[in-house]
Amino acid sequence: MPVTLQLPNVLSRLADGKRTLSAEGDTLSAVLRDICGRFPELGRRLRDAHGELYPFVSIYLNDEDIRFRGGFDAAVKDGDVVTVVPAVAGG
């Protein structure tokens, strides 16, 4: 079973309107490479030009912030859920 990537609506437009994507890889970095290969513009919204996390986009591996799990080097296993949470300001 592959890893599932969950996107907010605002980013799903960059993934053919899909809010949930399946991806392969044994690290988060590999998973994102898989995603970025298929949706380059989405990839640019998940990592900056240096391949680092943006300070205004949080990525969770299951329910843990990846910054506390080794960042993009974090190991992932089948069935894991990766959730992208961008900062939004509406009120």
Binding site: N9, P55, F56, A87, V88, G90, G91
Partner: protein, 377 residues
């Protein structure tokens, strides 16, 4: 603290007095509490109504806007007859009617680095119902400096977030998002839209968390971020850890307030974006000058209204369709309010287009100043 409630108060709050987690002691705590609501819009509406109804003793309200017709789809504190009035005046009337026992403290001002500490000081809880990143970071940093919990909520389109931040041992907003996105990357609700009930969902969650903090009961959202998706109707929480490197609550590098150099979805500096006013455009069109109007809004917005003779190229499609635009004609780009068009102009300038202008204030300003038959939204 006196635990004594008047007979009227006992009757008014009877349904929650019956809850052992509240009781007369809890109700008395609410009565002696002070809560500051920053923003009396979509989130602030249910917040103010429920906190006043619940008997929070003192509610501070910060806002500087007037009620607009386009607010009423979600800002249920205000009514049609309030359009044009200040939101604070409208809120004061509605809340005084709902619960005259609540003391209202209104601050008709925009929260700023200069006034935030003074405004927030003395409140037990601050609730962030603002609509832009700059104010959210100000609220956060002021709460951290003052040691006041920040009940956070934020919305966009069909999704919302809520948490309880800046408690003594919990994370703050900068632990979650260290700094705001660059201008223009994240659209505002005015540009991106929002489902009217969404601030109701998130605002009532913020009100619930506020009451729990004041009552000292239940498990709060400290250390958790609640994610709500109204389209899939999914609620889930993820962990938010206190970041030892956080400049606000970790290293305490932030010792004074400063304004984030960010305005929600602000266009690039006007000096680099040539503009044309609606009146100037109307005059030039009347003289039959050769201008190509390009509408960079979404298709569903185009269907609401558009300018005669315009070409629709949604902003997201511009990179792939820019090559179809003529370089020998002057282009006038427009959107709803001018922000997306400014991005489009900047992009096209980068692609070598030189005769190009942004319609200042977008189609909404065109409607106001040139053609009122075009609906504003």
């Amino acid at each position: 603290m006196s635990a004594v409630l008047t007979p009227q108060e006992t009757l008014r709050y009877s349904r929650q007095l019956m809850l052992p987690e509240v009781g007369s002691a809890g109700q008395s705590r609410l009565k002696h509490s002070r809560v500051l609501l920053v923003g009396i819009g979509g989130l602030g509406s249910p917040l103010a109504l429920y906190l006043a109804a619940a008997g929070v003793g003192q509610l501070g309200l910060v806002d500087c806007d007037a009620v607009e017709l386009s607010n009423l789809q979600r800002q249920i504190l205000h009514g049609t007859r309030d359009v044009g009035r200040s939101k604070l005046a409208s809120a004061r009337d509605r809340l005084a009617d709902l619960n005259p026992q609540v003391r209202l403290e209104t601050h008709e001002t925009r929260l700023s680095a200069a006034n935030a500490l003074q405004l927030l000081a003395g409140y037990d809880v601050v609730v962030d119902g603002t609509d832009n990143f700059a104010t959210r970071y100000l609220v956060n940093d002021a709460c951290v400096l003052l040691g006041i919990p920040n009940v956070y909520g934020s919305i966009f389109q069909f999704e919302g977030q809520a948490s309880v931040l800046a408690t003594s041992d919990g994370p703050c907003y900068r632990c979650l998002f260290r700094s705001p996105p660059p201008p223009g990357l994240v659209p505002s609700c005015a540009e991106g839209g929002v489902l009217g009930v969404l601030p109701g969902l998130i605002g009532t969650i913020q009100a619930t968390e506020t009451l729990k903090l004041l009552l000292g009961t239940g498990e709060s959202l400290v250390g958790r971020l609640l994610l709500v998706n109204a389209l899939s109707m999914e609620f889930r929480t993820v962990k938010v850890r206190k970041d030892p490197a956080c400049p606000a609550c970790g290293t305490h590098e932030i010792t004074t307030l400063r304004a984030e150099e960010f305005v929600c979805a602000a266009p690039a500096p006007a000096s680099r974006i040539p503009e044309i006013t609606p009146r100037q455009l109307a005059d030039r069109l009347a003289r039959r000058e050769d201008l190509l109007l390009v509408d960079v809004r979404e298709t569903h917005e185009w269907e609401l209204c558009h300018l005669d003779g315009a070409t629709l190229i949604p902003l997201g499609e511009l990179p792939e369709r820019a090559a179809t635009l003529p370089r020998d004609r002057e282009l006038v780009i427009y959107c709803k309010g001018g922000m997306r068009a400014a991005q489009a102009v900047a992009y096209l300038q980068g692609e070598g287009f030189t005769r190009i202008r942004n319609l200042s204030g977008g189609i909404n300003r065109w409607s106001e100043e040139v053609d009122p038959t075009i609906p504003r939204y």
